[in-house]
């Protein structure tokens, strides 16, 4: 039992490490717009923005997709992964964020298929190569987590954590924040991640893709910023 837990724990720690080379390092998903315009200036304003980002975007998009992908793997319905992959792509209306997710998804898929190979993941990589799928980090994460035999709740929570910790690392560089402040935010945000998992478990596919206009506009406006640290 203990061995099984550790077997899943280490790979999850690896995937959620903000140094994991998925390319998330280069994307702020609109947060840089707020930083440049001085709406996010320090620890408190960033922590507040991050909590809204989780509740109003991540939950309805990548978070929900991670759950639905995990469930379709449980049900043995590989085909619905392709539908989810497409939904994620066509519902992201800010081009940079859409391309950012695709780039991260492709990279993660390729890397994870070497690190934690499974036939389902190899199929997904093959479909991306054949341009039958776009490549989405939420789906790759669900594929790897399912293969590791972790629970659905753990998979969703870990995926949200991976997103949040990489955004915090980016904020540490971008705002900038002190490393300690970044870590404090990561502690403070943990109960919110738990709540977000509960919220995701109550949603249906009808809720998928619901976004808040402000963040989406900030993601679109990022394309027009003159000096940028991040690609989105």
């Amino acid at each position: 039992m203990a061995t099984a837990m550790i077997n899943a724990l280490f790979p999850l720690l690896q995937l959620c490490d903000s140094n994991f080379p998925s390319g998330a390092f280069s994307h702020s998903f609109g947060l840089e717009t707020y930083i440049q315009e001085q709406n996010i200036t320090g620890r408190d304003s960033f922590a507040e923005a991050l909590s809204i980002f989780i509740r109003k975007q991540l939950v309805y998009t990548d978070g929900l997709a991670c759950r639905l992908a995990f469930e379709s793997l449980e049900a043995g319905e590989d085909a619905s992964l392709e539908e989810l992959d497409r939904l994620l792509y066509v519902s992201c209306l800010a081009e940079e964020s859409r391309m950012g997710n695709k780039r991260i998804g492709e990279r993660m898929a390729k890397l994870c298929s070497e690190l934690y190979p499974s036939s389902a993941l190899s199929n997904y990589v093959a479909r991306i190569k054949a341009k039958q799928a776009y490549g989405q980090p939420a789906i790759v994460f669900a594929l790897v987590a399912y293969h590791l035999n972790v629970s659905k709740e753990t998979a969703i929570g870990a995926y949200l954590y991976a997103n949040v910790s990489s955004l915090i690392q980016n904020a540490v560089r971008g705002i900038p924040l002190g490393q300690t402040d970044g870590q404090k935010i990561l502690v403070g945000i943990q109960p919110l991640i738990g709540k977000a998992v509960d919220q995701i478990l109550q949603l249906t596919i009808e809720d998928f893709g619901a976004v808040s206009p402000g963040l989406e506009i900030a993601q679109m406006r990022h394309e027009r910023l003159h000096v940028r640290l991040f690609m989105s």
Partner: protein, 284 residues
């Protein structure tokens, strides 16, 4: 009639409070309304030829506003090469919905090379309103689609904003049975709705969507330049869509400033993409 149907709806029988079905077809060089059927609270005006070859129609709601449990269905079909502009005669008002949300379903099918400009007046959601809007669009090779949507908080007795319960607006675009676009907006007032990442201190949301094969990066960049020159109290984003086209999303403090921006974008897109001149609805 509408009243009777409403009472039927209250006891749980699915019904339409309004239904409109319309087909536009191209005959020689001219588009005509080849079939039209409506019942309940939805009607249309006779087609008006503000332009020589393509008609404009105005959707009319005869009830004065949408109330609890109302369901509206509009089906528009444009046959190959047909060109049509559609608007409403006035804004759509959604009142309190204590039992059932109001649902408005719109289904649009665009044939090859057809052009639909669908620009309704703003939606006003009053205190306690719950509103679901679902619009499905099927596009074809060479078809063009312009679409606008403006969501406004209605006046509330206590003067506070965002007194509606929630608004859920979904626009889906399909091409050859594949989903190529999902625009899903959820406005659900909580203590943070007015703030960062949500409404950013603004009150009104506007959208203008362009689906056209020539709406490329160059077009979008020059439209962005044009819109940036407008001096208004707005925040806007413009981005390229996964399918050929662009989306303009606007936050503002009045419907007027959104309408101004959309009309600039519309005029520009008409000229650059359709080769058509400025267009006035002559509503007022």
């Amino acid at each position: 009639m509408a009243k009777k149907e409403r009472s039927v709806n209250r006891i749980g029988v699915m019904t339409h409070i309004g239904l409109l079905e319309l087909t536009a077809a191209k005959k020689h060089s001219r588009t005509i309304i080849s079939s039209c059927y409506y019942e309940g609270a939805l009607k249309i005006t006779r087609p008006v030829y503000l332009e020589k070859d393509s008609p404009s129609i105005y959707l009319i709601h005869v009830g004065g506003g949408y109330v609890d449990g109302d369901v509206y269905r509009t089906n528009l079909a444009l046959e190959e090469g047909a060109e049509l502009t559609v608007t409403t005669q006035s804004s759509t008002k959604v009142y309190k919905t204590p039992k059932q949300p109001v649902c408005q379903y719109t289904d649009i099918v665009l044939g090859k090379g057809s052009v639909l400009e669908y620009l309704p007046d703003p939606l006003i959601a009053y205190e306690g309103a719950r509103f679901i809007q679902e619009t499905d669009v099927t596009i074809s090779e060479g078809s063009s689609f312009f679409y606008s949507d403006i969501i406004t908080p209605g006046w509330a007795e206590d003067g506070r904003l965002f007194r509606y319960d929630w608004i859920r607006s979904k626009l889906k675009v399909f091409k050859k049975d594949k989903l190529v676009l999902l625009d899903h907006l959820l406005l659900e007032p909580d203590e943070g709705l007015g703030g960062i990442m949500q409404m950013e201190g603004y009150t009104h949301v506007g959208t203008f969507l362009i689906l056209h094969s020539k709406a490329d990066k160059r077009f979008i960049d020059s439209m962005y330049e044009l819109l940036s020159e407008l001096k208004g109290d707005v925040q806007f984003g413009l981005s390229r869509l996964p399918e050929d086209g662009a989306i303009l999303r606007i936050l503002a403090r009045s419907s007027g400033s959104i309408e101004t921006m959309i009309s600039y974008a519309h005029e520009y897109a008409r000229r650059e993409l359709l080769g058509k001149d400025f267009f006035s609805w002559r509503k007022y």
